[in-house]
């Protein structure tokens, strides 16, 4: 009976103030979408770092006028270096072949590059990619080296962009969350005011505090849950429509987002949405419903 009473009060409460309820749900859902997207991106960047950092190599480009003796010395220096896991030598011809395959769509560009304008290089894989600087310092002293390039620097730039997007999404999520919280507070105030007579009688005849407060708190929780489900739907549709569809090309660069991670957003968003709403409602009631 009491459960039925409470649930009925919740539905009546949400419906009585339906415009405010909708506003509350929309802000909540946008905020939670941003939160979810940002968490997904965080997990994604983490995963990509693991993947790409394992793959990266240090390229040692040789000067065009490098002598055979210098090359042999470099070769030996790399072989003797304790940081190196494996190395591969790429001649000018091999580099040119690779280049032709890579740019096969732009014939004019390929024609403008001569086979000997690309440098020969060593591709070195380090045991620990983090040790790049130490390795570079040891090799740099050799004669005949034009440049030492770490792919890591390039990747770091990409990850910086991801991080910036992620921070932006979090900031937006924060602002929307603030708006959502104020709306929850306001909705609860309005609900408490419209039921002030009932509340007064309940206090008078000794209804327990939870019984008086539960319908209000549940009202906020239900709105929070609906907002979370909507937010999850936005993320899911966004993932399917953008990453799997229109921006598929990007997926060759990104590691694929596992569906499990996306589904993980549902309990996360539901928990955050319901929890935050409940706490806000409860605090609001402390002020407007002195028991």
């Amino acid at each position: 009976m009491r459960l039925k009473y409470v649930l009925n009060e919740v539905l009546v409460g949400l419906w009585r103030n339906v415009t405010m309820t909708i506003a509350m749900i929309i802000t909540m859902s946008v905020s939670l979408t941003m939160l979810g997207a940002s968490v997904l991106m965080y997990m994604q960047v983490d995963q990509m770092k693991d993947y790409y950092y394992g793959e990266i190599e240090v390229s040692i480009f040789l000067r065009d006028d490098v002598t055979e003796a210098q090359r042999a010395a470099i070769n030996q220096a790399i072989d003797q270096n304790s940081l190196v896991q494996s190395k591969e030598y790429e001649t000018q011809e091999q580099a040119y072949e690779k280049f032709k395959v890579l740019w096969r769509d732009s014939e004019d560009f390929v024609k403008s590059v001569k086979p000997d304008s690309l440098p020969a290089s060593y591709r070195v894989k380090l045991k620990d990619p983090e040790q790049y600087q130490a390795f570079a310092d040891q090799i740099r002293t050799q004669q005949g080296i034009q440049d030492i390039v770490d792919q890591r620097e390039l990747l770091d730039k990409v990850f910086k962009i991801f991080n910036a997007i992620q921070v932006m999404a979090l900031v937006v999520a924060g602002f929307m969350a603030l708006a959502a919280l104020l709306l929850v507070g306001n909705t609860i105030q309005v609900a408490a005011y419209s039921k002030r007579r009932e509340v007064a009688v309940m206090k008078l005849v000794g209804a327990s505090n939870w019984f008086i407060q539960a319908p209000f708190v549940l009202e906020a929780v239900v709105a929070g849950l609906i907002g979370a489900i909507l937010g999850f739907a936005f993320i899911f549709v966004g993932k399917v429509a953008l990453l799997d569809g229109r921006l598929q090309a990007l997926m060759n660069v990104l590691t694929p987002i596992p569906d499990g991670n996306v589904w993980l957003m549902l309990p996360l968003l539901a928990g955050v949405g319901a929890g935050v709403s409940a706490i806000t409602a409860w605090i609001t009631l402390r002020f407007y419903l002195k028991v």
């Binding site: 009932e198 005849v205 000794g206």
Partner: protein, 226 residues
């Protein structure tokens, strides 16, 4: 049943206390009037007994429970042993007489079956048999107050507090409400009534405690308004 020991209540920002070192004891089954001019502090006594306000000093004991030190989460349960009637009835306008009384039962966890058994009985007792399904606006002031009394009494409280229950009623209706309160008192319920209706006090000839400027100036066993 009710014990006030050296109770002083000063509201924030008030220049003088509403109740000033008041001590009084009320036995089980008594019918007591608190009288005095407006602002004398008599309504504060009701609020103290309900634990709506806490005393600034002193001790309030109701049903042998020390209200002053009671934990706040115990207050709702404590209030179930006290019925309360006010000058403005405090009925829910969108509920019938039956529903108003049943509401008081349901929100403290009684089942609908209990309500169906108990509510018609108590409405009959207060003389509203046959008017169960009227809304407050379809009832006269006296009838509305009867609904309020029914709601206060439906839990068979040990104490019934009445804060100017006849303040909005004409003299004839007031007498009827007093007869009702008298009948409830005869069932063993302690009745504490705050009023400044001299007619009623003079007719009932019950214990009268007069308060002036927060102090008890008279406590008479079978008193008149004076």
């Amino acid at each position: 049943m009710i014990q006030l020991e050296n109770v002083t209540k000063t509201y924030p920002k008030a220049s003088r206390p509403s109740l000033d070192d008041v001590s009084v004891g009320i036995e089980k089954g008594e019918f007591v009037f608190f009288i005095g001019p407006s602002g004398s502090g008599k309504s504060t006594i009701i609020k103290l007994l309900l634990h709506e306000v806490a005393p600034s000093r002193g001790k309030v004991v109701v049903n042998s429970k020390d209200v002053t030190t009671m934990r706040s989460w115990k207050i709702p349960h404590f209030r179930r042993s006290i019925g309360c009637v006010f000058q403005d009835f405090r009925l829910l306008p969108n509920r019938t007489a039956y529903e108003n009384v049943a509401f008081a039962l349901e929100v403290i966890g009684k089942t609908k079956a209990v309500a169906r058994r108990v509510v018609p009985e108590v409405l009959e007792l207060v003389g509203l048999g046959g008017k169960e399904h009227r809304y407050p606006h379809e009832l006269s002031g006296g009838e509305q107050q009867r609904v309020a009394v029914a709601r206060a009494f439906v839990n068979r409280p040990l104490i019934l507090l009445a804060d100017e229950p006849t303040g909005n009623l004409d003299p004839d209706t007031s007498i009827e409400i007093m007869r009702l309160l008298d009948r409830i008192n005869r069932t063993g319920t302690t009745v504490v009534m705050v009023t400044h209706d001299s007619n009623i006090v003079n007719q009932m000839r019950r214990r009268v405690i007069e308060i002036e400027s927060g102090r008890i100036v008279r406590d008479q066993a079978r008193g008149v308004y004076g």
